[in-house]
Every structure is written in C-alpha cells, then in structure tokens.
C-alpha cells in the first residue's frame, strides 16, 4: 500500500467523496456508502434531538412530586415517544448505519457495499419511517410505552397506535436491509489477504449485529402487523376477551426486542475495541475471544427474552430457564471488558478524546452489565421489575454504553470522515461533561428504583424528590455535554485544520487512504499482508529507527 499512497494523496487533492458533486441529486440519489453514511448521520442526529427533547420533558416533569408540568396522559405519551424515537430511530441505526456504513467497506478493502442501491433504499425507508412517526406524534402520539403491549395497545389506547407502530415497522425494514448488506459484503468482498482472523473487531461486531438484525427484526415486524390488524379490525390475536393470549404478544415482541438491545450495544463494542487498541498502542489482547464473544452474545441473545416477562404470567419454570441463560450472557460481555482492560495494561496510553469516551464506556457498561445480572435474578426482579432500577440499568448500557461508544467513534473517525481536525480541548471538556452528567442523572435512579419508585409515573411520593432533582440536574449537565460537539464539530468543518491520512498512527485499511477518502475508496484493490492491530511491530520499527 505504501507505494501507492503518495500517488493516491496527490490525486485526491482535487477529488474526494465530499467534493465529488455538489448538487442535491448527487446527495439524495447517491449510491456511495460514505455519502449515505452522512445522510444517516444527519437524520439520526435530528431524531436524537427529538428524543432528547422528550427526555428533557420527562426530567422536568419529575422535578416535583406532583404532576404539574404535564398531564399524566401527556406524560405517558412523552416517555413513550422518547423510547420509540431513541430506540428505533437513534440507537438501532446509530453506529451501524453511520460509522458502519462508512467504514465496513473501507475496512475490508472494498469499493462499496455489495448492494449500494439497497443501501440507499434503506435510508429512504428510514426517512419514510421517520416521517410516518412524526405524523403519528403530531396527530395524537401514543401512550402505550415503547413496547406496545397488548391488549392496551390493541384495544384500550386512545393514542395513534397504528401510525406509530407502522413507523417502527418500516424502520425495521431499513434495519434488515442494512444488516443484509453488511453480511454479504463481509462474506464476499474482503480484499485479498484479509482473512477472517485479520478482520478488524469493528467488522466482527457488525457481523454479529447484522445476524441479529436479520433473524430478529422480521418477528417484530409480523408481531406489529398482527397488533395493528387487531386494533384496526377488532379481531383477536392477543385479546383475552376473544380467547387470545396477551403474553404471546410479549413472547413475539421480546424475541426481537431482547436481541435488539444487542443490536444497540455490539457495534459500540466494536468501536471501543478499535479505540482502545489504537490509543494503548498495543495489539488487542485476546483477539479471537473478543471476536467470538460478539458472536456468542448475538446467539445467546436469542435464548433469553423471557427475562422481560417474569411478572407477566409466564410459567415460573420457563422463567427459571430464561434466568439461567441470561446469566450466561454475562460471560461473553465480561470477556470483552477483561480483554479491553488487559489491552490497556502496560500500553502507552494516550488520553485523547476517543480514548476518554472508550474508558467511560468500559466503566459505565460494566455497571450496566452487572446490574443486568441483578435484574435477571428472578427473586430480585420481582421487587425491582418496572422500577427505576430497570430504567437506570438499561440507560447505563444504552446511553453509558452505546451513546458513549457512538461519540467515541464519531470523534475517532471524524478526521477520516470530514478531513478536518476538531478542537481537542473542547472535545475533552465535552467528554468529561457527558461522563459526569450521565452518572449524576442515572446513578440516583438505581437508588430510586431500589427504594421502590416505579417507572412510567408522572407523580411520586415526596421522599423521592431529592433523588429526582439530582437526576434532573445531571440531565442538564448531560445535555450540555451533548450540545458542545454541535459547536466544535461545526467549527471543525468550517475552520478546522486539515486532517492527515492517519492522525492517530492507527492500524487498519481506513487509515491508509486519504482523509476524506476518494469516492471509490481504493484506486487499486489493496492486498493485506499484515496481521490485525500490528501495533507492537510498529513500535519496534520506530525503536530501530
């Protein structure tokens, strides 16, 4: 590759994927995976802001014990929409559709994904789903909780259930198509020499994620269809009054939605693996175990859905089995945490922004994961089910995990994506604010839940107020932390220093091409001769020089 890089750099002074056409058409009808990644990045940011506003409303309402800012019914709508927007429109596409879309073909040395038009189609489906969802929100919203449990959703809800569920349904197809594209691309389009044992862990994580997207999402799709039909035509698939079983809905729903939480964390784990090894300047510890644990999480994830249904009328014996398998999921997750830590051990660590996010991730994900084991214990879950303990647990994984990883990854590859450097000091400040704000927001919620504060209530007894105020204060800091990047990233695009091809001395094919990459990624197909994460060799070479 090194022979070509000079020639490549010269060529790209004039042309890269960003300045290759400025018209609307060149963006909206593009089949370039990098441009589609940008389109996704913009759209998920919009939904992150929307979901964030709903979160802000929830926290503001909970500032006082009375239900004073919002009517209880409005409050129900607000937390439901927060959940739906954040899960279906932000977390699920967050890393795969943006960083994954951008990086998967480049990391494996391909010119594009296997099906570029399907990739564009998936973005359009996402946008259509988003518009349908927004229509649903404006025309009445929905108050069922993001889970759409029947018979509440199918019979009793006054909200606009069908429209919003339809939005989730369409977004599901967008997610399926992304996953399908990734699996085919990873299987069939790897550059010569890029064996499975040399694949970056980011790719392994996306492979595992895509498997879940393919196998799980269709079941959610059909379940939502049956629920919508039940609501629209007053027939009974799940309605107990008509002989149906509402718990069946939960089975089918969680068959997707539990693996879906791994859709929301595995790509983040891939990002963290890349960042930790790069900023420790050390080859990743236990590569096969990190790669394998991604697959193990993906597969085991399909065996555990019943732990959401301990108190839903599920058989106690089934719950026992689900509980046991859930404990097993902790093993591959822990393998990852241990391996990241071992990678950092005796590494020459650089505390740059992506690394700060990665270290935040490891800590917060560990808390989220360990409390997950607590929740999976049947006896304890009977006490903490549907309390703020659960809320805190999954926010530690989803926000403390995935959003931290997304931010870390965005900072890590920002120079590659935009070709500009961002202001390191502001970025570090933002990372610190996010970390502090996050803990202040969600740690009190563990205590709240343990003390018995149920989730999904607009009003609460006065003794919980102190903790709720702390949580809301934390949310304010968190919001500031998330807002800062909007400023310094904009500044970076407008006035940032030009980024070199490899600003962090990182390994991987994406760092061997210019920043930003040319439209066709590689002018000649690269041939991989080096093992993955060969940081040790790099160090030795330097020592010799």
């Amino acid at each position: 590759m090194t022979d070509h890089s000079a020639e490549v750099r010269h060529h790209v002074e004039e042309l890269n994927y960003l300045n290759n056409g400025w018209s609307w058409k060149s963006w909206l009808l593009t089949v370039d995976h990098k441009r589609i990644a940008i389109l996704y990045l913009i759209s998920i940011t919009v939904f992150f802001v929307v979901g964030g506003i709903f979160a802000g409303l929830v926290r503001l309402e909970l500032l006082t014990p009375q239900s004073d800012l919002l009517e209880p019914e409005t409050y129900n709508k607000v937390f439901t929409l927060h959940g739906i927007v954040m899960i279906f429109f932000f977390l699920i596409p967050s890393v795969p559709a943006t960083l994954g879309n951008f990086l998967v073909p480049i990391m494996i040395g391909a010119k594009d994904l296997a099906f570029p038009k399907i990739n564009l189609l998936s973005w359009y489906l996402y946008v259509i789903a988003g518009l349908v969802g927004i229509v649903g929100i404006i025309t009445g919203g929905v108050e069922t909780g993001w889970t759409f449990y029947t018979p509440y959703s199918s019979t009793y809800s006054n909200g606009n259930v069908v429209t919003v569920a339809m939005a989730a349904f369409i977004a599901g197809f967008s997610s399926i198509l992304t996953g399908l594209n990734f699996i085919v691309t990873i299987h069939k389009m790897r550059a010569p020499g890029l064996t499975w044992g040399r694949l970056p862990l980011f790719i392994w994580a996306h492979y595992a994620t895509s498997l879940i997207q393919l196998l799980g999402t269709p079941v959610l799709a059909i379940t939502l269809v049956l629920m919508m039909v039940e609501r629209a035509f007053r027939v009974g698939f799940f309605d107990p009054a008509l002989g149906g079983d509402p718990v069946l809905f939960q089975h089918l729903f969680w068959f997707y939605s539990h693996p879906a939480v791994y859709i929301m964390i595995l790509p983040g784990m891939g990002v963290i693996s890349e960042i930790v090894t790069c900023f420790s300047k050390k080859s990743v510890f236990g590569y096969p175990f990190i790669a394998g644990s991604s697959l193990a999480i993906a597969i085991l994830g399909f065996f555990v859905w019943g732990h959401h249904m301990y108190v839903a009328g599920q058989s106690t014996y089934a719950s026992l089995v689900f509980s046991l398998i859930t404990f097993a999921v902790a093993v591959p997750s822990a393998v990852k945490v241990f391996n990241w830590t071992a990678t950092m051990y005796k590494g020459s660590i650089r505390y740059e922004t992506p690394m700060l996010y990665a270290m935040g991730f490891i800590g917060l994900f560990t808390i989220g994961g360990v409390t997950g084991v607590v929740c999976a214990t049947m006896g304890i879950d009977l006490h903490i089910h549907d309390t703020y303990f659960i809320v805190a647990h999954f926010h530690y994984v989803m926000v403390g995990g995935m959003v931290m990883a997304f931010m870390g990854g965005l900072h890590f590859w920002w120079p590659k994506i935009t070709g500009k450097m961002y202001d390191e000091n502001w970025a570090k400040l933002s990372a610190a604010l996010v970390f502090v704000g996050f803990n202040l927001t969600f740690f009190p919620q563990f205590i709240l839940g343990y003390l018995g504060m149920p989730r999904r209530y607009a009003a609460y007894p006065e003794e919980f107020q102190v903790l709720h105020v702390l949580s809301t204060a934390g949310a304010t800091v968190l919001a500031a932390g998330y807002l800062l990047p909007a400023f310094y990233f904009t500044d970076s695009i407008l006035r940032g220093k030009k980024a070199p091809a490899n600003p962090y001395n990182a390994k991987g094919l994406e760092w061997q091409i210019p920043s930003p990459p040319p439209t066709e990624n590689f002018l000649t197909t690269p041939v991989v001769t080096e093992e993955v994460y060969a940081y040790a060799e790099a160090k030795e070479e330097k020592a010799l020089v």
């Binding site: 196998l215 089975h251 068959f255 019943g306 014996y317």
Partner: protein, 107 residues
C-alpha cells in the same frame, strides 16, 4: 457462470414426488389417526419443503454458505417455537407447596 445445470429429468422426478406427497397428505387426512394426523401431515410437509429446497432451490449444488444459511433459518425458527412452547407447556404446573402461606405476615 458455470453453475450446476439440473437435468429436466430430475426436476420432473421431484415434481412427481411432490405430487404424490400432496395426494398422500390428502389421503391420510381422510382416515382418523387422532393426534398422529398432525404428525403425519407436518412430516410430509417438512419432506416436501426439503425436496423443494434441495432440488428446486439448488441447495444441493450450492456453496456451503447457502446450506449454512438454510440451517441457521431452521435453527432460529426452532428457537422461537421451542422457547415459546416451553412457557406454554409448563404454565399450568403449580410450584410445590412450600408453606409460605402460613407465614404470619400474610395472615
């Protein structure tokens, strides 16, 4: 591309087998075997489906990856059906009486 070209004879044989199976399904249905009606009907359906997958869909001559894909579909469908039925099969079972209804706090 030099994919495998199946001779028309094979296709016709498979078609004939499928037809026989269909008639057989119909015939078995006319006799009352109780629960075994379900077993036989589903067994024949699985056999027919595997014929279609193997010959009409060329899995027999496809790369190993296609075979794995088919296997994964069947396995995960199995997980869905099996773990769901695990709940329904054991829902009526009542845990052994451990005597906690006699605890004073519940009285």
């Amino acid at each position: 591309m030099e994919g495998h070209i199946t001779p028309t004879k094979t296709y016709l044989a498979v078609f004939f087998a499928l037809m026989v199976c269909t008639v057989l399904t119909y015939y078995v249905w006319t006799i009352d075997l109780g629960f075994f009606n379900v077993v036989v009907a589903l067994g024949i359906a699985v056999f027919k489906a595997s014929l279609v997958v193997t010959y009409f869909m060329h899995v027999k001559w496809s790369p190993i990856l296609s075979k794995i894909t088919v296997a994964i579909s069947v396995i995960f469908l199995g997980i869905l059906l099996l773990l769901t039925s695990m709940d329904y099969a054991s829902r009526q079972w009542v845990p052994r009486n451990v005597g906690w209804e006699n605890y004073p706090v519940l009285k």
